[in-house]
Amino acid sequence: MSDAPEQLYAPREPIFPKRVKGTFRSLKWWIMGLTLGVYYLAPWIRWDRGPNLPDQAILVDMANRRFFFFWIEIWPHEFYFIAGLLIMAGLGLFLFTSAAGRVWCGYTCPQTVWTDLMILVERWIEGDRNARIRLHRQKWDAEKIRKRIVKFIAWILIAVATGGAWVFYFADAPTLLMDLVTGQAHPLAYSTILVLTLTTFFFGGIAREQICIYACPWPRIQAAMMDEDTITIAYREWRGEPRGRGKKRDDLGDCIDCNACVAVCPMGIDIRDGQQMECITCGLCIDACDEMMVKVGKERGLIDYLALKDEAYERAGNQKIPVMKHLLRPRTILYTSLWTLVGVALTVAIFARPKVDVTIRPVRNPTYVTLSDGSIRNTYDVGVRNRHGEEWPYYFTLTDGSNLTVELEGSDKLVLVAPPDTEAKQRLYVVAPPGSETAKLDRSDLRIWVVDGVTGDRAHLDTVFNGKGR
C-alpha cells in the first residue's frame, strides 16, 4: 500500500451549540415544556373510580394486569387497543416523515428533548458557546472542576427525576413516593430508577448526537419515506453563493459566511454542505440565519424549510412552491387515511364494548354425561368480567319455554357474584330430560342469557348442546 493506513476510528468532536432566538427555537421551547410537563406530571393526576379501584388517572397496573387511562380501563384480552395505538403512532410517524422529514427527531424525540434540557442547564452553568469552548480547552483548574461538578450534579438530578417519574406510571404515585423516600419500595423500583438515571445522564448529557448518528435505527428507515416533495431544511445555495464576508458584495451572494448556522447546530454540521444524514431538521440554523439576514438588511429564508423539488424550480427563477402543494400528495393522503381508519376503528371498538361482558366455553372432555335417570348433562365454563369497583351479581337463565334445566355450581339462585374488577368463573350445567329431542340429537344450538343483576342489561351466549347422537 502506498498510502499510510487511514484512521479507522476517529475521536468525537465536541459540539458547543450556541444560544439562538427565533420562531423555531420558541416552538422547541414550547414543545419541550409540554412534553416534559406531561411526562413528569401525568402520573399525579387523580381520577376517582370508586372504592376498590385505583384513583390514578394513568396507571399501568402490572400486578393486576390492568391499564387505566382516565375513564378507560383495558384488560389484557383487549391489548389490541394498545396494538392499535402503536399502529397509529407508526403511521403518524410515517405521515410526518413523508410530509416534513425528521420533525419527530427535531422536536419531540425524547433524545432531542432531554439533550436540549441538558444543554440548557450546561449553558446556565458554563456559559454560552465561546465560554464553553474556552472551558473545554482550559487546564483542570479549580474553576473548571467546580463548573463540571455543578453541571454533573444538575444533570444527575434531572436524570433521577426522569427515572423517578417513570416508575410512578406503574404504581400509586403518592404511596410509591413515600415508599421510595422511606426506603420501603420494591427493589425493582429502585433498580428501574437507577437504570433510567444512568441512561438519561449518559444519553442526554454525554452521548447526545452520537445516539442519533450511531445508535438510532430510525434515521436510516426514514429515508425510505422521503421523496422530492418532503419538506426538509436546505440552504438556498443559488441565492447565497458565492459566499464571503465584507461590505462590497457585487460579486457575492447573500451568504455573509458568518458561521452562525454552524455555531447553533446541535449535530455539529454545516447545513450549507447540503442535506446530511446527521441533520435532525430542528430548524435552529434557520433561526440563526434569519437573525443575521435581518441584521444585514436582507431577505429572510437563506436557510429554510424546502423540498428537493423547490431547488430546480427556484433556480429557474420561479416563486417558491406553496407548502400545501408539497403536503397534498398521494403518499401523505394515504398515510392520513390509514391513520384515521385505525383511529375510527379503535374509537368505535372502545364504545362498542359490551355492557355485560360474558364468555362461555363448553367442556368437551367428555362432551356429555349420562345421569342415572337417563337425562343428558352438558357442562360449560362461564365467565363474567366485572369492571365495576364493587361486587356485581349476574343471573343465568335459558330462553323461556325451554325444556332444559340449568344449574350453576355453588348457587341455588343461578347467580354468580363477581368480585370487584375481576373476571369470575364458574361451572354451569345444562340438563336435557331423558328421551327428549335435545338429549337424542348429536348436537343442537343453545342460547344462555346473562342478566346484569343491578342494571337489568342482558347479554346472550350462543353455544351448542351435545346429545347422545342416537
Binding site: M1, S2, D3, E6, Q7, L8, Y9, A10, P11, R12, Q210, Y214, E241, P242, R243, G244, R245, G246, K248, D251, L252, D257, D270, D273, V363, N365, P366, V369, T370, L371, S372, D373, G374, R377, T379, E409, G410, R427, Y429, P434
Partner: protein, 290 residues
C-alpha cells in the same frame, strides 16, 4: 474583501479503487471500539462466571455456581414452603366442613386436580369420564357411595386391592360356571335389561317373567329385590340408565356368566393424607358428589 471558493467537503476515500469504484472512509467513533473491547472482556468474564466451556463430562460449572436445575429445585422448595401450612391443614381437615371459596378449599381442588391427573386419569380418563369397566366420576351414580367420606375411603383403601386389609370387597359370582344354565342366564339378562330405562326397549319381553324368578332366587341378595343395588356391597343399581361395562345384551350376558372383578389400588401407602383428601374433594365437586 475576502472571497473564497466554496470548498465542497467530499469524504476521504480509503484509497482503493476497483473499476472506478472507490470506498469512502467514514471512520467510526473511537468509543465504539472501546465498547467492542468491553464486550470481549465481558465475554471472558462470563465464560468464567457461568457454565460455558464443553468438556468431556459436561460443561465447566462457572465460579458463580449457577444452574437452571438448581433454580427450579429452589423454586419448587419455595412453593412447597409457602404451601406447607395449607398442606398440614388439609391432611387433618374435615372435608365436609371445607368452606367453598376458602383458601383451603381452593388449594384442595387445585392440588386434587394435579393428583388426579397424575395417578387417576390413566383409568378414569383426564376428564374423569371413566371408561368401560372404570366408573364415570362425573355422573350421580356411585357404586360405593358418593359422599365425601365414601370417596375418601375408596381412594385410601381401594376396591378389591390385595395390598390393603380394609379395602372395599365384594365379588359377583361367575354364574355361567355351575350356578345357572344358559337358558336361565338369557332369562335373567332379559329381566335386568327390562329394569333400566336405557335398555328396556331392547329386552326380550318373552323371557322377562321367568327372568324375574331367576333374579329373585340368585341376584336379589346383593342387587335387592327391586334391583336398586346395595352400596355397602358395591352392588350396582340396575334400574338406572348407567351400565359400567356396556348396555347391550352380549355384554350383560358375559358379565352374568363370568362375573366382573374390577380392581382399584389402595392409595393410602402411596399418596399422602393431604393428597388423598385433595383428590377426594376434587372428585366430589366434579358434578356428581352427594
Amino acid at each position: 474583501m475576502s472571497k473564497k471558493p466554496v470548498e465542497k467537503k467530499e469524504p476521504e476515500t480509503t484509497g482503493h479503487e476497483w473499476d472506478g469504484i472507490q470506498e469512502f472512509n467514514n471512520p467510526l467513533p473511537r468509543w465504539w471500539v472501546w465498547v467492542f473491547y468491553l464486550t470481549i472482556v465481558w465475554g471472558i468474564w462470563y465464560t468464567i462466571a457461568y457454565p460455558a466451556w464443553p468438556m468431556i463430562k459436561g460443561a465447566t460449572a462457572g465460579y458463580l455456581g449457577f444452574s437452571t436445575r438448581a433454580e427450579v429445585a429452589d423454586e419448587i422448595d419455595r412453593f412447597k414452603g409457602m404451601n406447607s401450612e395449607l398442606e398440614a391443614q388439609l391432611a387433618s381437615a374435615d372435608l365436609t366442613a371445607l368452606e367453598q371459596g376458602s383458601d383451603l378449599h381452593n388449594y384442595a381442588i387445585q392440588s386434587g386436580r394435579a393428583t388426579f391427573a397424575t395417578w387417576c386419569s390413566q383409568c378414569h380418563g383426564s376428564g374423569a369420564a371413566g371408561n368401560v369397566g372404570y366408573p364415570n366420576l362425573l355422573d350421580n351414580d356411585w357404586l360405593w357411595g358418593g359422599a365425601l367420606e365414601d370417596i375418601q375411603t375408596t381412594v385410601a383403601h381401594g376396591i378389591r386391592s390385595e395390598d390393603d386389609d380394609d379395602t372395599r370387597y365384594s365379588e359377583m359370582p361367575a354364574f355361567g360356571d355351575d350356578y345357572l344354565s344358559d337358558e336361565e342366564i338369557a332369562q335373567v339378562v332379559a329381566y335386568a335389561m327390562s329394569l333400566s330405562p336405557e335398555t328396556k326397549d331392547a329386552a326380550d319381553m318373552s323371557l322377562v317373567a321367568d327372568g324375574a324368578v331367576v333374579f329373585a332366587d340368585n341376584c336379589s341378595s346383593c342387587h335387592m329385590e327391586d334391583g336398586t343395588g346395595d352400596r355397602s356391597q358395591g352392588a350396582p343399581n340396575l334400574t338406572d340408565a348407567i351400565w359400567l361395562f356396556g348396555d347391550d345384551k352380549d355384554t350383560i350376558t358375559s358379565i352374568v356368566s363370568e362375573g366382573p372383578y374390577g380392581v382399584m389400588p389402595a392409595w393410602s401407602g402411596k399418596l399422602t393424607d393431604s393428597q388423598i383428601n385433595a383428590v377426594s374433594a376434587y372428585v366430589h365437586q366434579l358434578g356428581g358428589g352427594e
